[in-house]
């Protein structure tokens, strides 16, 4: 069996099947939907951080761009939701293109600049002078196209495609060349890899993923304020989940979301009073004791993880 097929069978198939079937047995669909959103976002972070080493601290910028691209084309152009999703994705890619100069920065400089960029987009979208176009701080209400069941199905499709993409990156020359750039950009360039083209492509792919899932999020939630879809917590959660599981693998981010977001919800429901405290301690423990993520444990035990 080829390696990519084994990876697909071990990761993509069970996750997508679970996401598709669970709503029939478990009624808090919104919780499942948020799981799908974070599974997708964590893989999006994986594409750019895991494979190229750029930490997208303002990743939510693409998510918000997708949400607003979707909502505004529904509101102003009366588009059908699926077509509007295309606009959301285009908005995210456009933002990604606009931000490609940031890729010249490295390390913490990139992370901070990316964070600033996402906040700048939020400030523009919520600005009162643009209320005519963006609805400004009054927020969005999309009750006309509200259809959580369909939105959930579309989200699962996006998740499946995103997982497929990471399986491809894990098993292809392109994925390998990205990792070569991450480890040593100069040597990679000398080995004949077009560094700028490769990392720009990864950056735009990861923007596309966030834009699509952001658009579906807007569709599902349907009433929201700009601070909802530009909340830095989306970026931070996605990054923490991906790191917890272990980046540059397919399994890592999946495990990260299922365990950490699961724990997050479990604490939130059982012991809400110490919610933030426990969560903060958990994150600190992760960095100090498992800096390369859960999958590094499996590797240590000699198991090949997809």
């Amino acid at each position: 069996m080829p390696r990519w097929l084994r990876h697909t069978l071990l990761t993509v198939v069970p996750v997508v099947a679970a996401a598709g079937l669970l709503p029939f047995g478990y009624s808090n669909q919104l919780l499942l939907f948020n799981f799908v959103v974070f599974l997708t976002l964590a893989q999006g972070v994986n594409v750019i951080y895991g494979f190229t080493g750029y930490l997208p601290f303002g990743y939510v910028g693409f998510f918000g761009a997708g949400a607003y691209g979707f909502s505004l084309s529904v509101l102003h152009l009366h588009m059908a939701p699926l077509a509007a999703l295309g606009v959301g994705a285009a908005a995210a890619i456009l933002l990604g293109l606009l931000l490609t100069p940031l890729l010249r920065l490295s390390g913490a400089y990139f992370a901070i600049a990316n964070l600033a960029a996402s906040l700048a987009v939020y400030q523009v979208v919520s600005n009162p002078n643009l209320t005519e176009i963006t609805k400004g701080h009054y927020g969005i209400s999309l009750s006309g196209v509200f259809n959580p069941t369909l939105a959930y199905s579309v989200a699962v499709v996006i998740l499946a495609a995103t997982l497929g993409l990471t399986v491809y990156l894990r098993n292809s020359r392109f994925g390998l060349s990205l990792q070569a750039i991450r480890d040593d950009a100069i040597s990679a360039g000398m080995a004949g890899i077009d560094v700028v083209r490769a990392r720009t492509l990864a950056w735009l792919l990861s923007a596309l993923i966030a834009g699509l899932i952001g658009g579906v999020f807007a569709w599902y939630v349907s009433v929201f304020y700009p601070e909802t879809v530009f909340s830095s917590e989306f970026s931070i959660f996605a990054i923490v989940f991906a790191l917890f599981g272990g980046v540059a693998t397919v399994t890592g981010p999946i495990l990260g979301v299922i365990i950490l977001y699961g724990v997050y919800n479990a604490i939130g429901i059982s012991t809400p009073q110490y919610f933030q405290l426990i969560y903060g301690l958990l994150i600190m423990g992760l960095v100090l004791f498992l800096p390369s993520g859960l999958v590094s444990l499996f590797k240590r035990w000699g198991i090949d993880v997809p």
Binding site: G53, L55, F57, P101, L102, R104, L105, S106, G107, A108, Y109, A111, I112, A113, L115, A116, A117, L119, A120, Q123, V124, N127, P128, N129, A185, S232, I236, I239, V240, L243, Y274, F275, Q276, L277, Y279, G280, L281, L282, I283, M284, L286, V287, L288, P291, S292
Partner: protein
């Protein structure tokens, strides 16, 4: 209006220099992005609030006390977190996550201890009525805070450029591995710088009730972003560059408030990205790292 914006911006910016100073020192010495910086500032502010209400201690007195307490707190915290962090593959990135976790813990504890409400210290402790500078009247508390910031900058200058410890600290800033190889106790030097960095944040916090109106346990996030803007504009990793960053930030903010008030919050982000792209080393920095 223009003159007023200029002078108010200058004084306000001096305070923001103090806000960013500690973050920059920690980044400069340890290459650590301290996302809990704003939360240490918040703790300083609550310390001042608490001491004022309990024993009526003047914030200037609190500032000295807070300096000692937070420096002492920083040392064990350093040994608890940083050496372990630096053994990882990508400590600069992981520091962002680690200190995000710490900021959550601090915010949670502060909420449990102090409650979520807005708190402040009466403005009258610095005298009522404005102070006149160059024909413009400014709040007295602003002037006191700006002076405190000046003292802190002077202290950092003396520490870095006039003491042996500062000499070693600068060696670590330039090249950590080489400093280690030449036998410098890098951990001890860094731990002290870490403690001082936290203490500076806490001192900025002592004056926060006067400069920001009120404080609450979740204020740290906003402070972090503003601090980043200040130190990136000045020069990331060069503590003294923070002065210029603070002033540029303060004056641009007051100008935005005067001429495009609803866009004022866009400013720090645009300034930050612009400087990073055009001159990644900051206005005052040497030519360093650009990938």
């Amino acid at each position: 209006m223009l003159e007023y914006a200029l002078i108010a911006g200058l004084v306000f910016g001096l305070y923001f220099c103090l806000v960013g100073l500690g973050l920059n020192l920690v980044f400069g010495v340890m290459r650590i992005v301290n996302l809990a910086h704003g939360d240490f500032l918040m703790l300083g502010a609550f310390g001042a609030f608490w001491l004022f209400n309990l024993v009526g201690l003047n914030p200037v007195g609190t500032a000295f006390l807070v300096f000692a307490v937070f420096t002492a707190l920083g040392l064990p915290l350093y040994y608890l977190l940083v050496p372990r962090l630096q053994r990882a593959k990508d400590p600069e990135m992981l520091s962002i996550i680690l200190f995000f976790g710490l900021s959550q813990v601090i915010e949670a504890l502060a909420t449990i201890v102090f409650g979520p409400s807005e708190r402040s210290i009466p403005g009258r402790v610095f005298g009522t009525g404005p102070v006149h500078i160059l024909g413009q009247s400014l709040p007295a508390a602003w002037v006191v805070s700006a002076i405190a910031s000046g003292v802190a900058v002077l202290f950092i200058y003396v520490y870095l450029y006039r003491t042996r410890l500062g000499y070693l600290t600068r060696a670590v800033m330039v090249h950590r591995e080489e400093a280690l190889a030449t036998g410098i106790d890098v951990d001890r030097v860094s731990a002290i710088a870490f403690g001082i960095g936290l203490a500076l944040a806490a001192i900025a916090g002592v004056f926060a009730p006067f400069m920001l109106g009120s404080v609450n346990p979740s204020m740290g996030v906003d402070i972090n972003i503003q601090s980043f803007a200040v130190i990136v504009v000045g020069s990331l990793g060069n503590p003294l560059g923070t002065i210029l960053g603070g002033i540029v930030y303060g004056i641009s903010l007051t100008f935005m408030q005067t001429y495009f008030s609803s866009w004022a919050n866009l400013l720090p982000y645009v300034l930050l990205i612009f400087i990073l792209l055009v001159r990644p080393s900051g206005l005052l920095g040497r030519e360093v790292r650009s990938a």
